[in-house]
């Protein structure tokens, strides 16, 4: 397979097209504009729909409509724009409508700046909008992963009838590196080949496609009957529990490690470099890179806790994922944190220093 040079934002777009996404609505914002532009160019070529909406709330609401008639749908934005979409994301979670939302994070709070950051971890992994819901969250760390995780995100969204968030950042969105457009592999989701679903959305047995010859269906998030909302929420909770089957992570050189780094996305790239350099100095350090941020890969983190001297969580924020690491570890070993907020980058030298401190 020939390699090609591709920008992260565009790799997400191509992954979506290959997954059969034929409806994209979005509103421009740096640093994800190349994704919106890519969809504007590609959608007409595949007989899909591209809409530059009048606002972010309009974009997510358009996804609600397109998703309930069976389309594979996507929107993308960056942090402030994702905040504006939270009403629609909550509604889609409530109505159990699949969609894929790419958040190419920038610095916050407020309009912040346009530099890459990881300040939206809490928002992404705790639901983000109102109500007792979660969304699947995938965190790519390379252009290659931006392509194939996006492609898989559509299968996961359909499987769980849930919004799926791709949590990238400005660095991953803007950078170019070599990648391969691999042919679609077998679908992650049970229930068949995603290609057949692309051809025939009617294979989704819950969509609103005209009820001639069958009982009418309804899709809504307003559930007023006595006790029925509580039951609905409990069923959603079961679904979130079931999502734990999808947990994935990358573990690098953890077998003999005495200190383990935990990082995702751009921070994980920096940690890999730090880890390789530290290994050359003879330091026994490994890396766990969560790829699903929700559900969080807590088992692997718990398993290794009793035998190591400590974890070091590295993030481009002031400490968000570190709370999930601490929950997973449950006090079985020390959990340290090193973070740079809103446009700062963790430094390899400082990571190595901190590893040395942990190893004593």
């Amino acid at each position: 397979m020939a390699k090609r040079l591709m920008m992260g934002n565009e790799a997400i777009g191509e992954g979506a097209i290959q997954a059969g996404c034929r409806f994209y609505a979005g509103y421009p914002i740096t640093p994800q504009n190349e994704l919106t532009a890519y969809m504007a160019k590609r959608m007409p070529e595949v007989n899909g729909v591209f809409i530059q909406s009048e606002s972010e709330l309009a974009a997510i609401s358009m996804l609600y409509g397109a998703s309930l008639v069976g389309a594979r749908t996507m929107t993308s934005s960056s942090s402030p724009g994702i905040s504006l979409m939270q009403e629609g994301i909550s509604y889609m979670a409530g109505a159990e409508l699949p969609c894929v939302i790419a958040n190419i994070q920038r610095g916050g709070p407020g309009l912040g700046n346009i530099s890459g950051a990881q300040g939206d971890y809490f928002q992404a992994t705790r639901g983000g909008g109102h109500g007792d819901y979660r969304t699947l969250v995938l965190a790519p760390h390379s252009v290659q992963e931006m392509f194939h995780l996006t492609r898989e995100a559509f299968d996961l969204a359909d499987r769980y009838r849930s919004p799926v968030i791709i949590l990238g950042d400005g660095v991953l969105g803007q950078m170019m590196e070599p990648m391969e457009i691999q042919p679609p592999k077998a679908s992650l989701a049970k229930g068949g080949d995603p290609e057949s679903r692309i051809q025939d959305p009617a294979k989704k047995d819950w969509i609103l496609d005209g009820c001639q010859g069958r009982e009418p269906r309804s899709i809504k998030s307003l559930i007023l009957g006595e006790n029925s909302l509580e039951k609905h929420n409990e069923r959603l909770a079961e679904k979130y529990k079931e999502m734990e089957k999808e947990i994935r992570y990358e573990a690098v050189e953890i077998e003999d490690a005495q200190a383990i780094l935990v990082a995702f996305g751009t921070s994980a790239r920096i940690c890999k470099e730090a880890m390789h350099r530290a290994r050359k100095e003879g330091l026994k350090v490994g890396l766990i890179r969560p790829i699903t941020l929700f559900p969080f890969p807590k088992e692997i983190i718990l398993e290794n806790a009793p035998r190591i001297k400590g974890y070091l969580t590295v993030e481009m924020n002031l400490g968000q994922m570190v709370e999930d690491v601490r929950l997973a570890v449950s006090g079985r070993c020390p959990v340290h944190f090193y973070g740079r907020p809103a446009g700062g980058f963790p430094e390899v030298e400082i990571i190595i220093e901190k590893i040395k401190e942990i190893l004593g």
């Binding site: 400005g170 070599p178 890999k272």
Partner: protein, 178 residues
Amino acid sequence: MREEIVIAGFGGQGIMFAGTLLAQGAMEEDLQVTFFPSYGAEMRGGTANCNLIISDEEIGSPVVINSSAALMLNQPSLDKFEKRMKGKGLLIINSSLVDREVERKDLEIIKIPATEMAERLGNVKVANMIALGAYLKKSRIISLESVIKSLPKVLGERKRDLLEVNQKALREGGGLIK
């Protein structure tokens, strides 16, 4: 092997093009490479820059803090990036648009009248290729031929008519280095 490069100049000088071309060439030589542009807040006519990392090992952050090489196509770029270079770094300067001397004493400096040479080739916009050609010959990070081979792909069909002048500029730039 690891090289961290900053290419900078005015918007319109082909800074992103030169960076993309170098990245494509590195990929053709099966090296690891990342390209990271300055984005968003830049204006037309303002300054533009891009970061490249070329390595035989997996690359972490694509953002260059201290560069081991710099191609500075105008003076504001030199003002900004000279102090951020690593010691013994290779600094290529477009002397057509830079009036001052370099302050650092610990750098390897090559001055090239790239804009004037490009004008003589009939297209002022290929000053970037002259600087890149010189850089490639001097650094030997990848071969000039790999970059020339990558040109058609990066230029695309629409700009096929500019292929020849870009090739010529790369070779002229390379020819300045003995």
